[in-house]
Structure formats: structure tokens, C-alpha cells
Amino acid sequence: MTKMPRWADIALIPLINLALALLVAGIVLLFIGQNPVEALQIMVRGAVGSTYGWGYTLFYATNFIFTGLAVAVAFHAKLFNIGGEGQAQLGSLGVALVCLAVPWPHWLLALPAAIVGGAVFGAAWAFIPAYLQAKRGSHIVITTIMFNFIASSLLVYLLVSTLKAPGMAPESARFPEGAWLPSARELFASIGIEFSRAPLNVSFLVALLACWLVWLLLWRTRLGYEIRALGHSEPAARYAGISPPRIVIIAMLISGALAGLMAVNAVMGEQERLLQDNVLGAGFVGIAVALMGRSHPVGVLLAAILFGALYQGGAELEFETSVPRQMIIVIQALVILFTGALDNMVREPVTGLFLRYGKRKPAPGTPAE
């Protein structure tokens, strides 16, 4: 059997999915008496029409890159980590503790320490479900989702007791100034370019680095080879002397660490204090990002930017029109639905078309049957 060309798999199908999602969203908008074309224009302009828009779009994208990579690494080991939300929350705790513990003299020192803090806490939160899966066979989907609730409750508890700063709000004290990350505005200003005030900060570069490191891990290291082998076939992994429990635990640790890194952007880069609700569903968006990006770092990067634009564009739409907030969530949900859950609906007919009309160029040396 032949396959579709790679470009169609990676680019064409997500684009068709996206177009279908926007089409359905447009129909819904029509029903509530809005002009869908105008709405789309506002969204696009709001997301990528200015440095302000880009500043928000890429800020959101940074969150989604981390959570998307987290899901993608687990996917390669055939593990469905839907605990990105909780791991990111624990990561935020780790980042906050690191930032609050030391009167940091400069962000260049605080950033590596916060990365370690976020990664270690995120990984630790993933370790328990990973251990239960590897050694006890408790299904990781169930345990990770349960751990999201525990993480959320744990954070609330800490924010109304130990970590609570004086005042009414359940939040921590503000981080010392040495732990504030430079924003895009400051970074660009240093090289003489003007950029709007937006939460985009240096963590975006950390996210890009993470993409590259994940690629390196999966396709260039022995560990990545073992993770992918286990993901394809467990009996084969055992045949090759790869220990499935060991790889399950390691893959989940990496996954949890990546999710935990999201806090470097959201907590350290923007809020500069620990808030009760600092993940805002990014852990779940990460699943859609990994699915749409076909678990490849480049795909994750592009999908994360798309979802970032959708978030920012949606916020603008809400601001400029009478489209209700709920409607924005519907549009985002439609994109997740079409790119994630309904992926095969488009994939199969398109593959069929390619097989039917792609005969002229047989793949080199394809054997019969």
C-alpha cells in the first residue's frame, strides 16, 4: 500500500481541518446574526496584525509549545498523558518556590534555576502516575486526569495558607525584581526595534530550544530510539532488551518536565507571582497541539502558534464585537474538534484521493501486496 506524500500529511490535512472548523464556526456566527467574514478579519488582524497582536499570540504559543511537546513525547512512547494541566500547575509551584526562595540578582541566574524548578516539579508530578502505570498497570489516562484535580486543590491549599501573601487574594508574594524575565519589548528595544507592550518574553526562546532538544532526543539519541521503539511495539521492545517500565517512567518524566516548564513563561514571565489559576487549560490545548502537529516538534511549534493566534484573535473579537465570550470558546473548541478528534474524517478520503490520482509516480521499489 502506498501512502500520501509527506507534505500532504503534515500540511494539507491540518489546513483542510482548519478550514472546515472555520467554516462551521462561520455558520454558527451567521446563526447568531454576526458577519463571519468580518469576524474572521477581526480575529486575524487581532492576532497577527500588529506587534501587540503578535506579542500575545506568541505568548500563548509559548505555553502551548511546552504542553504540546509534553504530550508529543509521551505519545511517542504510546502514552496518553492528559495530566499536562496538573504537571504545569506543579511546575508553577516549583518556579514560584525558586523565584521566592532567593533574592535573585539577575534574571540570567534566575531563569536556569526556575527552569530546573519547573521541570523537576512537573516531572515529579508525572512520576507517580508513570510508576503506577509501569509497575502496577494502572491506566495512565485515568491517573493523570485524577492528578490534575489533586494538583489544582494542592495549589489552592498552598495559596490560602503557606504561600499566601498579605491581602485578600489567594496569591503568593510578588517575585523579587531579579527574577522578572525581560519582555519582548525590552529585548527588542535593546537592539533599537519598537515592540508593543505584551507579555511575550524571553521564555519563547526557551520554548524554541525545547523544540530542538526534543527533536534531538527523539531522533538522534539512543533513549529517543528506545522511546519510539516501545511506542511502536512493546513485544519488540522486550525482544530488543529495552525495559518497558523503565522507558515508560523516563518518557513520562520528560513529558512532565516539559509541561512544568510552561510556568517559566506564564508565572515567571508574565504574572510574576503564583496565582491560583495559572494554567488556564493550556495542558489540554497541548493535546490538540500535539495531535495537530503529529507529535513532531516542528508541527507542535506551528500548531502552537495557530492556537496562540486563535486565543488572541478570539480575545480581540470579544473586545471589538458583541460576540459573546462563550462563542469564542465554541470556535476554539471547533478547531480542536476538527484537528484532533475528527482528524480521520478528512484523512481517509484525502488519502483515498491521493492513492487514486497519485498512480503516475509509484514509490520506488514497492513490492507486491
Partner: protein, 540 residues
């Protein structure tokens, strides 16, 4: 069913099945090219060909799984459209698949009726089926307990249920796809008697196989397929295995393995009282003892599911066991972290696993990634924690050339190679490690004749270099041809050891069925009872 009745009595002059100019392509692959064939009623018609020759595709078209791109199907002199299996059944065509399609936790009766129930109430259909089943089993020696659960039956029995299913649906043309792959010689003989009986009753049988011996033994006519084309149709008495093999492969083939007598040296592998209990608590190996010496091939014969897989898995480090295993006089850990496949490889054990697609290869990995599989921590393939992909690719290209893997493309995914070439990749990887002991399971399962010859030569060559080989195969021919000694396994135990020159297929067949040396006078009937009885605990 009902539609079948209005065709009336089959017109004996017309062929039971006539295919005219059938073509079918999957993408760029032409699986069937302009195939025409006439199967006369009341005959057994064999279709033989290598893997990938297009036999299964052709039968799938006849059974309505695929739609032909071109061509016509005629059944008993009338043109038929067969868009789905319902239509095939209506035309009186029944199919017995290689992999049975039975519901494991249903009884025989429930399976037979499944999909052919009459009305919403089950009881009338069941009692009707019970009567018919009784009649059929007497007519054709198809004895099965209608109330037994499928999961408690041996493979031979399950196959009878498949045949009964087809007959219950009033099939008068029966297609059997590789029916003897999982049977003991005695069971195969019994199956052939059943088929002869069906033929006497006027049924038409199409037998798909790659075993020349079966074709010669039972068919009236044989059609040979190669590369999607029907190359010849001949009367069986007028042909020979050599001629058929040549027609299948397109060149002369050595059917026998040429090998010099073994010159065994000291013991490499010494296994004593090896036991394995599976996760359900069933004892799979009940104290196996054997040894393999340098420069010899020990063949393990047995019906699939009698502990051979577990034996290979324990020795290969994929499963824990109890007892004693020594390699070159040194004890191997049978449990704990030092019992894994990686440690075994370092100790000099190479392993060609029974199921290359599930274990031996990662089907989505490219050929070069697969050539490092299991040896991916070899310093030659690594630079620190990184893989040396360039070195691996280069080594793969060398192995592909040496072992004549086709297409010679190291970047192709394993799943894009044919079965034989996939196996060559595994063989190349394992044999090139220069192991002290080679474990090899089902080396030629699903492999075409041309590649079988090559793989057999490679295994014998390794033996001649003074290496020890432990061979597990359910193909008795293969065991007989390759082994220097033969051990027969039944129900987790070694039933006996024989020299190939001093035994016969009949004797081995009895051992495979669990009849030990002392009671060789047992009749075939008792063998079958034994098998049916053992089926429950041997099979899961």
C-alpha cells in the same frame, strides 16, 4: 441462503466457478493481472503461489471483500456480481480463513448460527442448527461437540467449526486458505479425509496453499500464480513438485537443503528442568531439559502453542523462567534485571524471533533503524548517548547487499518490504553478530520459496562455522530438512528426541500429538481425542 435455491441443481457441465479476466490494483501495485480460471464442480482445485503472488487477493474478490477493477465472475454457468460476502454466501460460496473468525467465548452452536439466525428468537435457530450439525458431522466425519466453548477447543477443532459454518450456510463451493498451517500431520490427514468426503458429495473445493506436498496429495487440478498472474493450470497427476516449484518461482529451485553431516563439538547450551509459568498461572514449560552443541542444529518440532514460543522467549531474555540454563558452562540469570535480552545478546545469543512483525522489527522504522534494533547500544552504532546514524546506515547498506535484500533501499520502512525480505533483514542483523548460539523461530513463515532456500543456506552455513543453532518450527518439513537432532515438544514438555535419519514424519506426528514412545500402537482416533482434550490447556 434463499437466493441459492433458485439456481436449482448445479449444472454439472458448467464450471462451478469461472473467473474471466480478473484484474485488481492497489495503488501502483498490480495484485491480480487478467486472471482467468475454471474450477470444475466436484473437484478439489489447488491454487499455489508464493507470498504476494496474489492468491489471497483473488479469493477476496471471489468472496466479495474486494471489488475487481475488471473481469467477470461466473458461478455454475451464471454471471454473478459479488459486491460483499453476503452475496458470496448467497451464491453458495463458503470461506475458511487462515485466521479463524470465531467468537471465543461462544459455543460451537452459537458460532455456527451467528449471522444466520432466523428471527429475533434464538432458540428455534439453535435447535434447528443442532439437528443439522449432527447430520453434517455424521456425513463428513466433522465431529465437534456443539456445546463446547470455542476457547476450549484445539485449532483442528476450531477449523472444523469454520467448515461447519460454511456448510450450515449451504455452501457448495468451499475455499480454504492455508488450512494446514496450524495442524499436526495427523490433523491435516483428517482434514484431507473430510475434504475428500465433501468432494464425494459433489462439493467443490478450492485449496490455497504454499505447500507442494499437499497439492500433490489431495488436489485434482492445480493453478499456479506468480507476481499477480496465473502462470499455469495443470492436472495434478500430470505434474511434479519440481515443476510446480519452478512455475511458482520462475526458476529452478532446490527443494532439499544440501548440507554436510554435522560435526558437533562441545556443548554450548545446556538447559535443565526449565519451567515457565505465564501471567495467568498456567505452566507453559514443565521442566524442559535439552542441550545444543557447537556445529549442530537442534530442531524443536511441535504444534504451535505447546511451549516452543516460551522456550525461545526465556532463552532470548524476553520472559522469566525457573531452572538452569548454561551458556558455554556459565549459568544465565533467568529472572531479575540481568535476564533481559540485552544481557543475552552481550553473552553471545542471537535471536531470530518467531514473529518478525511483532517482535523482530519495528514496522514503521526504516530498514537502517531496524538493523540496529537490539544492538543499538553497540559502540559501533553510537557516539556517547547519540546514535551514529551514518554508521548504522552504512552497515545496513552492506548487509542489504550481502543478504540480497530487495529493494536495496536502506531508507524504506520495514513494512514496505515483502515478508521474505523483512526476514532477510532480521537474519542479516542476527547472523552477522557472529553469535555462539542462534535461536531461530519459524525462520521461513510467510517467506517465499526463493528466500526460504537462501535463509536455510545461511542457517546451515552458521552451523558449519561451528555455531550452535536452536531451531523452532511448526513446519515438519523444515525441521526434517535442517535439523541434526530433533526434539519434539508437547504441552510444555519434551516428548522425545530423534535423529532425522532414524525417524519418520509419522513417528514425529505421534510425538507431537502427545503419544509417547511406549505407546506407539495408538490409533489415529486416539491421537485426535488426545489433541482435542489437550486443546483446552494448550491453547488460550
Amino acid at each position: 441462503m434463499a437466493a441459492h435455491d433458485d439456481t436449482g441443481r448445479p449444472d454439472t457441465a458448467a464450471p462451478a466457478i469461472e473467473l474471466k479476466g480478473i484484474s485488481k490494483a492497489f495503488g501502483p501495485v498490480q495484485a491480480n493481472k487478467d486472471i482467468s480460471i475454471r474450477v470444475m464442480p466436484g473437484t478439489i482445485h489447488g491454487i499455489i503461489g508464493e507470498n504476494g503472488a496474489g492468491k489471497s487477493t483473488l479469493m477476496s474478490i471471489l468472496y466479495g471483500f474486494y471489488k475487481a477493477d475488471a473481469g467477470e465472475i461466473w458461478v455454475h454457468g451464471a454471471r454473478r456480481e459479488i459486491p460483499d460476502s453476503q452475496a458470496a454466501i448467497a451464491a453458495g460460496i463458503g470461506m475458511v480463513f487462515q485466521h479463524f473468525k470465531l467468537v471465543e467465548n461462544f459455543t460451537v452452536l452459537e458460532n455456527v448460527v451467528l449471522g444466520a439466525e432466523e428471527g429475533a428468537r434464538l432458540t428455534p435457530s439453535l435447535s434447528k442448527a443442532r439437528k443439522l450439525l449432527k447430520q453434517l458431522s455424521e456425513e463428513y466425519e466433522l465431529h465437534v461437540d456443539p456445546d463446547a466453548l470455542i476457547q476450549d477447543l484445539g485449532v483442528g477443532m476450531q477449523q472444523r467449526v469454520e467448515i461447519l459454518k460454511a456448510l450450515y450456510r449451504q455452501a457448495d463451493i468451499l475455499i480454504l486458505d492455508e488450512p494446514t498451517g496450524v495442524l499436526t500431520p495427523a490433523e491435516a490427514d483428517h482434514l484431507f479425509r473430510i475434504l475428500e468426503g465433501l468432494k464425494r458429495e459433489g462439493k467443490t473445493i478450492i485449496l490455497i496453499t504454499h505447500k507442494l506436498r499437499e497439492i500433490m496429495e489431495i488436489t485434482d487440478t492445480v493453478s499456479v500464480m506468480r507476481l499477480g498472474e496465473m502462470t499455469a493450470t495443470v492436472k495434478t497427476p500430470e505434474t511434479s513438485p519440481e515443476q510446480l516449484a519452478e512455475l511458482m518461482v520462475g526458476r529452478k529451485v532446490l527443494l532439499r537443503v544440501d548440507k554436510a553431516p554435522a560435526r558437533p563439538g562441545e556443548t554450548v547450551l545446556q538447559v535443565d528442568n526449565l519451567k515457565v509459568t505465564d501471567s495467568k498461572g498456567v505452566e507453559r514449560l514443565r521442566g524442559v531439559s535439552l542441550n545444543v552443541r557447537k556445529g549442530e542444529i537442534l530442531g524443536i518440532a511441535g504444534v504451535a502453542g505447546n511451549g516452543q514460543s516460551e522456550l525461545l522467549e526465556v532463552l532470548g531474555g524476553m520472559r522469566e523462567g525457573r531452572g538452569s540454563v548454561q551458556l558455554n558452562g556459565q549459568e544465565l540469570d533467568l529472572s531479575g534485571t540481568k535476564s533481559d535480552a540485552r544481557t543475552r545478546r552481550r553473552r553471545g545469543i542471537a535471536h531470530v524471533p518467531e514473529d518478525r512483525q511483532r517482535e523482530g522489527l519495528i514496522m514503521d522504522f526504516q530498514a537502517w533503524e531496524n538493523v540496529g534494533f537490539g544492538y543499538h547500544d553497540d559502540p559501533a552504532y553510537c557516539r556517547g548517548m547519540f546514535m551514529d546514524n551514518a554508521a548504522l546506515r552504512k552497515d545496513t547498506e552492506r548487509k542489504i547487499e550481502k543478504f540480497d535484500v530487495r529493494p536495496a533501499n536502506a531508507d524504506l520502512a520495514a513494512k514496505s518490504f515483502s515478508g521474505g525480505n523483512q526476514q532477510k533483514l532480521v537474519i542479516a542483523r542476527e547472523l552477522e553478530r557472529n553469535p555462539d548460539l542462534l535461536l531461530v523461530g519459524q525462520p521461513t513463515r510467510g517467506v517465499d520459496i526463493g528466500a526460504i532456500e537462501f535463509i536455510h543456506q545461511q542457517i546451515v552455513a552458521l552451523r558449519d562455522e561451528g555455531k550452535a543453532v536452536l531451531l523452532v518450527s511448526v513446519e515438519l518439513d523444515e525441521i526434517m530438512a535442517l535439523s541434526d537432532r530433533i526434539a519434539v515438544m508437547f504441552d510444555g514438555s519434551i516428548m522425545g528426541e530423534r535423529l532425522p535419519s532414524e525417524t519418520s514424519e509419522r513417528e514425529l506426528g505421534l510425538l507431537m500429538a502427545g503419544i509417547s514412545d511406549t505407546s506407539r500402537e495408538h490409533s489415529i482416533k486416539e491421537v485426535e481425542e488426545n489433541l482435542a482434550h489437550s486443546g483446552g490447556k494448550v491453547m488460550t
